[in-house]
């Protein structure tokens, strides 16, 4: 039985989605089961129908594909969120359209949309293409709307796509990325992936050829990237302690001051976003049970986030018994691996078995940003929880939901928008970042009814939980872990000052 791959509809740099769709179009007499059957009988059936089709399709003129450096199609079952309607009419889809920072079609300059303009349905899932009778997104194709073969096969038409792939692939091999834990990795945690909206902004910063104007023409929006340079020093002793062992040593006595600075900054920003009558206070949310939440909801997201941040940064992780009913307990408690999920100073890194120390200026600057970034993420998380309560009017958070949503937070308690790379020859760290300040007066949203909610909550709780950890001896004080008495007092003093 003959199986066509729709080679007439073949385009350069097309995705697996595109190959699959043209195979469906080119075999109108076959359904998916029959195609699977043919592939099976030819002993070329792999783990998926899509994969087999792509493999077979590429095997026809693999050499040609290789010579053009065609990227391997992304074999994925994920639905497509955005697509160019004109490309869809041509039975073309590129994996580039899946990237969040590409908002318009590089070929046709039309906005990428989430639904088919012909049938007004969302773009079909790869397995639903065969079920849809639409010439734009389904198993049909309008041949009269196809661009003439002579032109649509020209590589020049697809040059923007090719150029974008070149742009993405560009990598300066000389640079060394600074990882979170100090070692050198090829892909630093902080380095945004292609899926990150900031990716083109960083990439254009280091790319020698591509200009911002050119990317704008292709429908890619970029933000300005700032750059700071810090010195690094070689460490003579290679038998040093690990970062964690020496983390709270005396040489880190500056972190309390940085925490106070961050705390003051956050308090100022909250003040700017809330009415004057709003009183920012710290609660011990660890002691709150589900009943408290039901009685006194809605909460004030500013106070909640501020309190959680405070405990997160200063306190020792608690061990709670009623955590299943408390949506915030996972933010305060340490996890099963007993890791401290909070920003930590980064003072050194290892490269070719040599240790380098970063300058104190760099450590302070980066730590300050990480603290602020940590607050923004906690605030966004709390805000979403409180909003979801307000919508449902019923507090029914399941343990698994909370756990899954907080997992991502644990890994990102640092400023992930900073991209640092090391140049050992110049003994420098280059830090690139898109925002001069990540937390300013306009960062936090102004939420209606904050004061009323906040006062109601305090009234219902009767102030039992306000700074509860500092009042009761039976609970570990939040500030003693990692701080000596002087630092603890300073932080407490600084905190009180900041609220006055």
């Amino acid at each position: 039985m003959y199986l066509s791959y729709g080679n007439a509809l073949k385009h350069p740099y097309e995705s697996g989605y595109s190959i699959f769709r043209r195979s469906i179009i080119a075999n109108p007499t076959l359904n998916l089961n029959s195609i699977t059957k043919i592939l099976k009988t030819n002993n070329e059936f792999d783990y998926s129908l899509i994969n087999s089709l792509i493999k077979r399709n590429y095997s026809i003129d693999e050499s040609k594909y290789n010579s053009l450096n065609f990227p391997t199609p992304n074999i994925t079952n994920e639905p497509i969120q955005s697509h160019c309607p004109i490309c869809a009419m041509q039975c073309y889809h590129s994996d580039l359209y899946r990237l969040p920072w590409i908002t318009q079609c590089p070929i046709h300059k039309t906005p990428l949309i989430d639904h088919c303009p012909y049938c007004n349905k969302l773009w079909p899932h790869i397995k639903d293409i065969a079920k849809r009778d639409c010439p734009c997104c389904g198993k049909l194709i309008n041949y009269s709307k196809l661009q003439n073969n002579a032109s649509h096969k020209q590589t020049s038409l697809y040059k923007p796509i090719i150029n974008l792939y070149k742009f993405i692939k560009y990598n300066d091999k000389a640079e060394q990325h600074l990882s979170y834990y100090g070692s050198i990795f090829n892909d630093r945690d902080i380095w945004p992936s292609q899926q990150n909206k900031l990716f083109p902004s960083y990439q254009i910063h280091k790319h020698p050829l591509y200009t911002k104007n050119y990317l704008t023409k292709l429908g890619v929006t970029t933000t300005n990237i700032y750059c700071k340079h810090f010195k690094i020093y070689k460490e003579p002793n290679t038998n040093r302690l690990s970062d964690r062992d020496g983390l709270y040593d005396k040489k880190y006595n500056w972190i309390a001051n940085e925490r106070i600075k961050a705390l003051e900054n956050i308090a100022k920003c909250i003040k700017a976003s809330t009415p004057h009558s709003h009183k920012l206070e710290i609660y011990d949310f660890a002691l709150i049970s589900e009943n408290n939440l039901k009685d006194s909801m809605p909460l004030c997201p500013y106070c909640v986030a501020f309190s959680l941040w405070y405990y997160r940064i200063t306190g020792s992780p608690y061990k709670y018994t009623n955590k299943t009913k408390n949506p915030f307990s996972y933010l305060i408690e340490k996890d099963s691996t007993y890791k401290y999920f909070r920003p930590e100073p980064r003072d050194s890194y290892r490269y070719k078995n040599k240790y380098y120390t970063t300058s104190l200026r760099f450590q302070k600057w980066l730590y300050q940003r990480d603290l602020q970034s940590c607050f923004i993420k906690i605030f966004n998380y709390c805000n979403s929880i409180i909003n979801s309560y307000n919508i449902d009017n019923n507090f029914v958070f399941q343990k698994s939901d909370i756990w899954i949503s907080t997992l991502s937070l644990f890994d990102r308690y640092y400023d992930e928008t900073i991209y640092c790379y090391v140049d050992p020859d110049e003994m420098k760290i280059h830090a690139c970042f898109p925002f001069q300040s990540i937390l300013d007066r306009n960062t936090l949203p102004k939420i209606k009814g904050t004061v009323k909610n906040c006062n109601n909550f305090k009234k219902n709780l009767k102030y039992n939980f306000i700074i509860a950890a500092l009042k009761h001896n039976n609970i570990s004080p939040p500030c003693n872990n990692g701080l000596n008495h002087g630092e603890y007092t300073t932080l407490l003093h600084g905190y009180k000052n900041s609220l006055v």
């Binding site: 039985m1 066509s4 729709g6 007439a8 179009i25 109108p28 007499t29 073969n149």
Partner: protein
Amino acid sequence: MKTNIVENFEHPVFNPLELLIETPAMKLLHDQIQKWLWTGATGSVVKGVSRTGKTTAMYALGNQLNSRNNTPIPVHRFSIHKRDKPTIRSVFMRMCNSADIYTTPRTVTDKLSDSFLHYLLDKTHEYKTNRIVLIVDEMQRLKSWQFDAFAELYDELRDPFNVLLMVIFIANDPECVELIEEMEDSTHAHIYGRFFTLESDFLGLTSEKSVKSCLCQYDSLRFPLNSGPTYTEYFLPKEYRNGWRLSTLSRPIWTVFREYKQNYKLKSWGMQYFITSINTLLTDLLPHYGVDAFSEEMIHESIKVSRLIPSMVKDRS
């Protein structure tokens, strides 16, 4: 020797489908089609009397057609079958079946058309060319309205795929005349202009020279291929070793056939009748009676065995 012959039925001489004797007409047809291709022709009709070897000639064309830049051009052949309901759908159905495309009795015409279109496009992609040749055998079985199927394919391939389709219709001479005349009507102008402006007559053997050319191939073709004896040597080994060749009989053979040609007003010697005659001569009469006993009587007998006379008489009447 006779026992060996009987045992070895795999010899091409005993398998008409395996035996391919190239005739000057075949070469002429190949050159003609090549010329049409190079001049951008979109279709043509090759007609000839039945049993002259038109179909064999078309199969012999194989993949020998090239574009001007020496790129091979894909060829797809199929023959038309007579159906109770001669529809456009039945033509597409026949096309799909010939290409091994999956169909069901309920498959609609659009799907059949699209499937075959993509089949042709795949072929052009495989050959990396923008030309494709479709050979349609037994054209006389088509009805005038069914030609629209080919016009549709031509149009679809032309735009947007930029592929030029050339359709060669093979037809039996007397039977197709009526159809061709019908196509000349203005209502079929779009079909006639595309496919019927070029015509070629396919003939069998027309001269002693062409007969000799065919006989020479008996003296040179070998079985098994390359390593085995020639066809003549296989059946007449002793005579072949003594320098005797079948091609030496070309003059008497043609002389005898010319009598039939004149008597029955034949245009040419159909290849099927010629091959049967020569095979009878080579495998039965000459080994049995010996080369020295060769006479015109043997040729008459061979032609009689080939059933040329009854078939031609019937045709001409």
